[in-house]
Amino acid sequence: MPRGAQQPVRQRESEPPIEGLDRSAAAVSYVLHIERAVKRFGQATALDGVDFGVAGGERVAIVGRSGSGKTTLLRCLNLLETPTSGTLSYEGRVVGSWGGPSPRTPSRRELSQHRIHVGMVFQRFELFPHLTALGNVMLGLRRSLGYSKHEARERAMEQLALVGLAERARAHPHELSGGQQQRVAIARSLAMEPKVMLFDEPTSALDPELVDEVLAVILKLAERGMTMVAVTHELAFARDVATRMVVVDSGEIVEQGPPGDIIHSPASPVTHSLLRRLRLT
C-alpha cells in the first residue's frame, strides 16, 4: 500500500455497490474502508449511508456539528458500534457486512484482532483508574498480545517515553493532569502497534493550556507516518496536520478535500456555518 496515496477528490461519486467478498479497486487501496454505512439508534439515524475510506499514511480530520454522526462514524470504524447496515473492510478484506445481500458478522476473535489493528483514543481518556499509567499501557500487551510481564513492561515504558511520561509511569490516572492522562491513553493505544489510529475529539475535554502537549504527541505520530482519523474541533491543527478534511452533517459526508481548500472556500453552506462557529470558539 503506498504511503500517502493521493486522496480523491471532493464530492466523490458514491461507488457502485460491492457484493460480498468481491473487491473493487477502490476498496483495495484503502487500509480501512466503510461502505454504505447506516447506523440507527431506535428512531434516530446517526449515519445515513456513509462511504468513507482511509489510505495508508493519510491523516483525516473529521469535522461536523455535535450530533452530526462524526463520532458514530469513528466508532463504527473499529466496531465499538455495529453498523445497522454497511460493509467494513480492513486492508481490502471484509471484516463485517451487515444488512446486505451477503451478511458477515465478525467472530469475537476477529473483533479483538480488528481493534488491535485500529487503535482508539477517547474524548474522556478512559484510562483504567485502578491501574498505574504503566499498568494501563501494559494491560493490552499482556492480555491481547500475550506478552510476558517483562516484555510488556519494557514495551510499555518505551511507549510512555514516546509520549514524554516515562517518569510518571507509577502514577495513577487521578494523579495526572488531563493532558498527561490523554498522553497515557495514546501510549496505551499505540502499544498495540495499530495500523490506524482513531482520535475522538482528543483535546476537547482538556483545559486550553493542556491542549498543546497532546497535539504535539499527535503531530509526532503524524511525522512518523501513522495513518489516522481524528474527529476534531481544532481547525488550525487540522489545517497543518491533516491531509484531508471531511465534513459530516446529518449522518452524511457533505464535503471533503484538502483542509486548506475547505477552510478557505467551503463549498457547502453547512461547512460555511460550521467553520464560522469553530473560528469563534
Binding site: P129, H174, E175, M192
Partner: protein
C-alpha cells in the same frame, strides 16, 4: 457487673461466628442472583427479579423458623446451622443489589476502552470492570456485615447460644432491677465493641478506595480526625 459481663462474653464467639458465616454465605448466594439479574436473556432476568423480590420480602424471624423447624424434618440442623443458612439466604438479595449497583458504577466508556485494546468480554470484565466494581462494593458489604451482626441477635429465638441468649438466661434467673440494667447495658457495650472496629475499618477502606480511583477524600467522621492515611501521594 463483672459476673454479668463474663457470662455474656461467652456468647461473643458464637455471635461472631454466626455473623461471619452468614455474611459469607449471603455473599456467595448473591453471585448467581446477580448473574441472573444482569443476564441478557429476559426469562433469566425475570427469574432473578422474582427471587430478589420474594426473598427480600421474607422477615428474618420467619425465615429462621422456616429453616429451623421446616428443614429439621429432613436434615438435622443445630440452631446455629439453621441461623447461618436462614440469614445467609434472606440477606443474599441485598448483597446481590450491592453487586449490581457496583457493576453499574463502572461506566460504559471503560468497557469501550477495554474493547479498544483488543480485550475480549471476559478479559474486559476480569481486568477492567471487576477490580473497580469490587472497590465500590466493599463499603456497603461491610455495612451489610454490621447489619448481620445485629441481626444475629434474632437467632436467640431458636436457642442459639449467642450474646442475647446468655443475657436472657441472666435476666430470667434474676429478679433485681439492677441486674436487668447491668445485663442490657452489657449487651449494648458488647455490640458496640464488636461493631465499632468494623465501622472504623470500613471507613479506612472506603477512603483508600476513593483515593485509588478518584484521588478524592471521603468525608471524615469526627472520631477519625486524628487519623492520617499514610502514603497518599496525590499530586
Amino acid at each position: 457487673m463483672a459476673y454479668v459481663m463474663r457470662q455474656i462474653l461467652v456468647g461473643v464467639p458464637v455471635t461472631l461466628l454466626l455473623a461471619v458465616l452468614a455474611w459469607i454465605l449471603c455473599g456467595l448466594l448473591a453471585l448467581p442472583i446477580t448473574g441472573l439479574v444482569r443476564s441478557r436473556l429476559l426469562p433469566l432476568r425475570v427469574l432473578g427479579d422474582l427471587i430478589t423480590m420474594f426473598v427480600r420480602g421474607v422477615p428474618e424471624l420467619v425465615a429462621l423458623f422456616v429453616v429451623f423447624f421446616g428443614l429439621q424434618q429432613y436434615v438435622s440442623l443445630s440452631p446455629l446451622d439453621a441461623a447461618i443458612i436462614a440469614f445467609g439466604i434472606v440477606e443474599a438479595p441485598f448483597a446481590s443489589e450491592i453487586y449490581r449497583a457496583s457493576l453499574t458504577t463502572v461506566q460504559r466508556g471503560q468497557r469501550d476502552a477495554a474493547d479498544s485494546i483488543g480485550l475480549n468480554r471476559l478479559q474486559g470484565f476480569v481486568h477492567v470492570v471487576l477490580p473497580q466494581a469490587v472497590r465500590f462494593a466493599i463499603p456497603p458489604m461491610i455495612n451489610l456485615f454490621i447489619g448481620m451482626l445485629n441481626l444475629s441477635s434474632v437467632a436467640a429465638a431458636i436457642g442459639v447460644n449467642d450474646v442475647i441468649q446468655r443475657a436472657n438466661f441472666l435476666m430470667s434467673a434474676s429478679t433485681g432491677g439492677l441486674r436487668f440494667l447491668a445485663t442490657t447495658g452489657g449487651i449494648c457495650i458488647i455490640y458496640l465493641v464488636m461493631v465499632a472496629p468494623v465501622s472504623y475499618v470500613s471507613r479506612l477502606i472506603e477512603r483508600r478506595m476513593r483515593r485509588d480511583l478518584f484521588g478524592a477524600r471521603a468525608p471524615r467522621r469526627l472520631w477519625q480526625r486524628s487519623i492520617v492515611i499514610r502514603g497518599s501521594g496525590a499530586a
